[in-house]
Amino acid sequence: MACFWLNSQETRVKIPITEEQENTVFYIIQVFVGEIYWSVKHRYNDFYELNTKLVNDHGVAKDILPCKKLLRSKCPEFIENRRHGLEIYLQKVLKFLKLAMPRVFLEFLDFHLYDVYFILQSLALKFYSEADSYLSSAKTYNFTTLEVHAITKCCNTPLPAENTSDKRYDLTHVFDFSSQLNILYINGISGTYLRSIIKPNELMYDFKVFKKVNTLSLNEVCLESIKDLGQLRTTLKNLTIIKSNMTSLCQILQCDVLHKYTFDNAQVWNALTVMDLSSNCLTDIDPTISLTPNLEVLILDQNRFSSIPNLLQLEKLTRLSMCSNLITTCQEIHLRLGNIQHLNLSQNSITSLVGFSKLYSLVSLNLTANNIHDIEEIKYLSQLPCLEDLKLTGNNVSTIVDYRVKVLEYFGTRAEEICLDNEQPLQPELDKVSIRRALKILKEGSTPAILNTR
């Protein structure tokens, strides 16, 4: 990212080319700050307006802007002359205003979009007037990776802490606000940023100022750019990292530790109860999962798991979601999941339910859009005493004749308690279930047990 105050000697402006759009000539300005550059385009009229303000308020000489000429302003030689004139104008003004950098001038050159210090000034202005309204409600805010980098950089770099006399731009507002946030969202920006060569996701940031954050959500970031997330270990309750190409849990849980698989009590994420790692590249859960012993909810949607991972160490886990993975078989899941109550495995390729037969604590099971063909498979669920909510739509099995009745039949006397595909059983369905069961019992010749006649 650009940092003008550290590179004011290496800051230059050029106007290499012009561009015509809808009969208007735009001058393409290139701004170079150290190794960073960006472009910004303006019409002559923008220059004219800028100049008026600079002359009135900032002591810029009256006569250095190429003058307004109305005639022949489309002729190439004229444009070329003007381009050259405007370039020299900008260079003179930059030299003159280098120490003050008034807001009108830096905004004309888009410094407020690309420069550490001026981005923070814009944030300061925002928080100066709006911080209380954010902080008095949910205490939540969305930063970009660019902004959190600027905040981090400001703590470690000699920038003028206060360079304007205008208190609205005092950077302390940003730090004050950040230090009080509870819920922090950080959104990555992939590729290069706007019209610059800055790659926001490659910029480092840490969490030093975010002392009160208990909920962190990272969206499309680069995990390698995160420094010192471990600082949130004892306070973070809710962690979401999505679309960030995560391949292994240790990347985040042990991000600040060199030897990822040697644990120490100090590295436990004690407060963490909810973790959402959707839309990453996970194929398995590595042993660092034991550092989150208090996890209750784990969401692993849209990853690359081919089977259900071993999560027995998570004694408090009650809810697991693994939608849209590559799961085909589920064998003996009770040896992997323990006391799970809510399981979402929709949009996988599961064919058999045999592995579910001992998940005795299961209350809801979502198997939408899998490959279950055979109605016989349902028998493996029939002995789950707590099951109340079952979803099977989008499987072949749900297209057979009398599908609902046949499924419900497996649950015997509990049929009325099963909400199938979001619908409670209707009375006619329950009646049919009773009849079919009675017939079956007669056919098999066994004595009717407690027959459910309603």
């Binding site: 928080f127 100066y128 007037s129 911080a131 209380d132 902080l135 008095s136 703590c155 470690n156 770099t157 000699p158 920038l159 003028p160 802490a161 206060e162 304007t164 006399s165 205008d166 208190k167 609205r168 005092d170 302390t172 507002h173 730090f175 004050d176 950040s178 230090s179 009080q180 030093k208 100022v209 002392k211």
Partner: protein, 215 residues
Amino acid sequence: MSGGPYNYSYIFKYIIIGDMGVGKSCLLHQFTEKKFMADCPHTIGVEFGTRIIDVCGQKIKLQIWDTAGQERFRAVTRSYYRGAAGALMVYDITRRSTYNHLSSWLTDTRNLTNPSTVIFLIGNKCDLEAQRDVTYEEASKFAEENGLMFVEASAKTGDNVEEAFLETAKKIYQSIQDGRLDLNAAESGVQHKPSTPGRNNLSSDNQGSKDNCSC
């Protein structure tokens, strides 16, 4: 206005300075969280903390910059002196060298802040009486000669920590009331609450406050 946590009338900006390891970050932590951090990492650059306090019936928000004592961050931390209303200058009573460096810290502070900045000297780690290397009398004399306020404190036990931060605020508040400190000056380090940017007139704020103020 109601008495919610966001209702305060002023913001005072503080900096905490002094050699590395004297306990600056621990003092801040003790003041904001009321806890002692036994193994506190060295500060990199600067850190930040806030707390709302009550001075003479006025709610005041303190915005506190905790600076790194390590020499290599001096350039970073210097940029935070400007605009501080209060400076807490800390040494460690068990390490004489940290006391000896005070005059250079003081020179920096005087050069980089404005004349109305309140400077408060803290002799930290007073719980370690057995290892004392600087006497109370000596430091007290130094403070007096240089016109500084002074206490010995302990970030570990919390002794005198509140006092140091609060006394500094009282002194700043007095300066505002005496008119010695100009609220509108850029470098005063004092502001009205941001959400009421128009209220830069002190008298309108004072009408509601009680007269039985002890400071």
